[in-house]
Symmetry: D2
Subunit: 319 residues, 4 copies
């Protein structure tokens, strides 16, 4: 193996650049060449490649987004498209590829491996919804951004004795909502993976106001319900003032936190070492704070398990 | 004059606490007593008063929201309600009142003055929409919060070559949009006070993408159009990917900036000095960086003039 | 057990308030009463106690510092002082105590337990230097604050092609330096637990500048050497411009991160549950992301093990 | 005039990149070409020039530091060096130059103008110490950074009932100290331009502690005294615990605030327009919120006047 490629795929996430930097620097320090592939699998098939030096990734560890750009590219599921990708890689002398992205991107990584190009997948998504890992690159920054916003919203909620229903990202996964909810001192956390009772939440808010609390915060995972609808439901049972708030895309960007930079650096470094050992078709994760790998195939049957004990913890905080 | 009251009214804004602190400390250092009136004019009429000491406002200069709470209270327009307010003030020996709030709150301050209770109005609103002042308390923090959010959104816009239409607050006033638009390097700024041409904006975005720009940001004042509608209009003329984003209530909260803390402190200090000079019925402002006063009456006929040269400035940045 | 006490001891750390809140809310939700003990063990002996309600800890999860204040109190090592403490607790009907603080505070917690007052210790220090735990309350926020400062310093380092030697906190422990060093893309990380070679670091910086890098950052743990001395040593071998920078006490304060709020909440909740099970003399930690306990006695012989693999990881980033 | 040059000189300041961007975009939109001159006057003499396009300054408005790098270059005072600079400019067809920097850089700008190359100076320094302007590029961001740090320091000061003497930048100018002092609710502000009485400050702190205040903050301009010395002086008169803290170089970097981005954009835009009118030898400023110009010559005799009323204002806050 002399030359490896790296690409980012799916939604961008803070820390992707730290991972690109780690891959680049580690590979070069082990005598490999690195090519950046722009626009994910679309760029791979189109041959949008350019060499990455150690200097090219200077001043990138602190940047949100991805310097390699990203794109969704469902065409990669087709056999003939995969073959085109492999041809492009061979033409450029690239022996192996590291793919950073959400669950969709693992299919591409597996396809490349099956065509003889060893590929390693790194979990790059703010949603923390990948099986067999407790952590995905960008998750911590997204939580921090959401919490900062809620800290601000709480000021105005308190000044006016209002309830805010704050929709946070995460697609079908409630991890951002749970962690941000606990960190924000939310009155309730609503996620798609667990049942919830809007009436009970409204009653609990009424009790809080009666005891003198000056505001209410509901952290709502986007996969559970729309913020507007939830607010309307809530107002059926409560006589308080309530507003809906959708934090949206700001959660995807911004300077990555220490946690995301360090973890992305560890993962990028590890991925190169796996390639150096001749491995491919693997997904890297963190389990109980340790780097781990699983066959990508296993991920397709697997299911991400959130830390649902956070829901009980939060209930102890709001009784 | 021995005892003054202070209240916050209308939407809360970062820096209101700095103004409350400045009023309290200045008054006490000039031998006056201070009473905090909670929940704005509603609390004034209900007699929700309590003394404020210099120590009570410790650790508040850095807090968003208002420690006196706020409320909208249209009933204050009624003569009999105003009389009740005056009775409450007399009952508590309060000779004068400082009111911090948006344009609605000036009516209450004028009514009190007319009933013999000298009152001074301070412009407390993030919207910067008050006549005869270049600045309102909270405006700078709201701009900073909006710009921070757009800096994050730009990361994801760039990673995906997307256009974001970002709705910022300001009601019918475009000041937040203009200042944040320039600071964010927006491709276009849309405000209700000036005409705009969606087609022209779409064409300009297309030219930018053609020249290699990797993203587009439109900063849209909430008073101009909804973000969703603007995005839909835009997509009639452009073939790019576009998303709508509403920053909403987080702009109202958060730790105030240096500018808001210093200006609020100056204004609160000045308001007490005006009362000590026996003045009432005045609105305090900043004009060309200097503290100024106007009869509150003049404000009702006046019109806030934004710095519309910012629109031309921004065009020079995007041609 | 009907009534428990809580105190913070030693240096303050962001997240202590989240832990106090969690202890208070959990205890109350399980039918216990909670007393806040101010000024650590000094206040315990002086009887500076007051009841804490669920409402008292509203609006505290987001505050740095400790609402219970802290103090160093070496007198607590004396038997007669310990007896006085126990008398105070008995007088107030307090059956058990939760102590949040650095390693010094564990001695006090153990002494109380030996005198029949079950006590649980929570690791509250930014230094991350407690045995048998991978994490201490405040560590993440301190790292984030240090990294933010270094991100700013890097701007000016780059503009002037300078090297900055940045001293970060941690006493004899290099954990902050290692994590912040990796996250900041430092050219070198210097900690007291491992040997380092100033000449080699200087040579490596010269090579970087020769390859076109525009700045250098050394992250130096305070326990290793003073920043000034290190800078002077460095300049013996390098002809570049170098400055020393000490981040100091700002690392101890500030709004806690998501990580610190969530972990402090988990730990505070867990500590109450341990007391409810009749346990005492235990130190709570996180090991491999799981809550764990150890006899406090074991901590005195134990040694905190840092994640020294971060040093090798960083070398792969700078070769 | 067909082609202009731009350089940054002296210490870097946040917002310099916004000014570079504004100069570049404005010039191009008016049909001019722009050359970036790297490393200030040193690069000017060495001919370190490269063309700047509108795209080159994309993604720079939000960056601290200066993408053109900076350097101190006292040699520029020599006539023969100035002639060399002029030769380089003529060789590259550059007709006029915009210089962004501190007071030293105005000498270079004037020298160029005298040699027939119209030059305009923009005040780029965090210190706010330039005559005939109320504002310099970077001043607002530096104040914000210092205030943020002090907000964090206050947490630990309060937890331990300590006094912190915090040294902020500004060289011989007290503007940062005054504005940050008011914004931080400092107990005292010490600047080199006005007398101060350490004993009186100590007495006032003692009175505050006696009244129940839990901390003390002194904001000290670096030009007044060293923080360590001030702390030692203070402890001669007070029996409290006090620490010295030097914020140092982090104040020079970081993402610029809204204020700095907007003002730098206005100034860069205005400088190009002055050149288009055939003007040179001018320094741009903001006076009472309006763009203004003065002959650079006048600056050498002028003296920056700070807003010293802030000292009295702060006294009203601490009596």
């Amino acid at each position: 193996m002399k030359r490896i490629g790296i690409l980012t795929s799916g939604g961008d996430a803070p820390g992707m650049n730290a991972a690109i930097r780690a891959v680049t620097r580690t590979a070069i320090s082990h005598g490999l060449e690195v090519f950046g592939i722009r626009y994910g699998f679309a760029g791979l098939v189109a041959g949008d490649f350019s060499p990455l030096t150690a200097e090219d990734v200077d001043h990138t560890i602190n940047l949100g987004g991805t310097i390699l750009y990203s794109a969704r590219y469902p065409e990669m599921a087709q056999e003939e498209v995969q073959q085109k990708a492999v041809e492009q890689l061979k033409k450029h002398g690239i022996d192996a590829v590291i793919v950073i992205g959400g669950d969709g991107s693992y299919h591409g990584a597996l396809a490349l491996t099956r065509h003889g190009i060893n590929s390693i997948g790194l979990p790059g998504t703010i949603d923390n919804d990948i099986p067999y890992t407790d952590y995905t690159i960008g998750y911590d920054t997204a939580c921090e951004t959401a919490m900062d916003a809620i800290d601000k919203i709480r000021d105005t909620a308190s000044s006016h004795h209002r309830v805010f229903v704050v929709n946070v990202m995460g697609r079908e996964c409630g991890d951002i909502a749970m962690r941000v909810g606990v960190a924000s001192g939310a009155d309730a956390i609503v996620i798609p993976e667990r049942p919830y009772d809007v009436k009970e939440i409204a009653e609990s808010l009424k009790r809080s106001f009666a005891k003198g609390k000056d505001h209410g915060i509901i952290v709502l995972a986007e996969g559970a319900m729309s913020a507007d609808k939830f607010k309307d439901e809530l107002l059926k049972y409560g006589d308080f003032d309530a507003r809906a708030n959708v934090l949206a895309h700001m959660q995807r960007g911004g300077r990555p936190t220490v946690e995301d930079r360090v973890n992305a650096t560890k993962m990028g470094n590890y991925a190169v070492k796996l390639l150096l050992e001749g491995k491919g078709g693997l997904a890297v994760g963190f389990e109980n704070n340790e780097l781990s790998t699983h066959d990508i195939l296993d991920l397709f049957d697997g299911k991400h398990e959130g830390d649902y004990a956070l829901l009980d913890l939060n209930k102890d905080m709001t009784k």
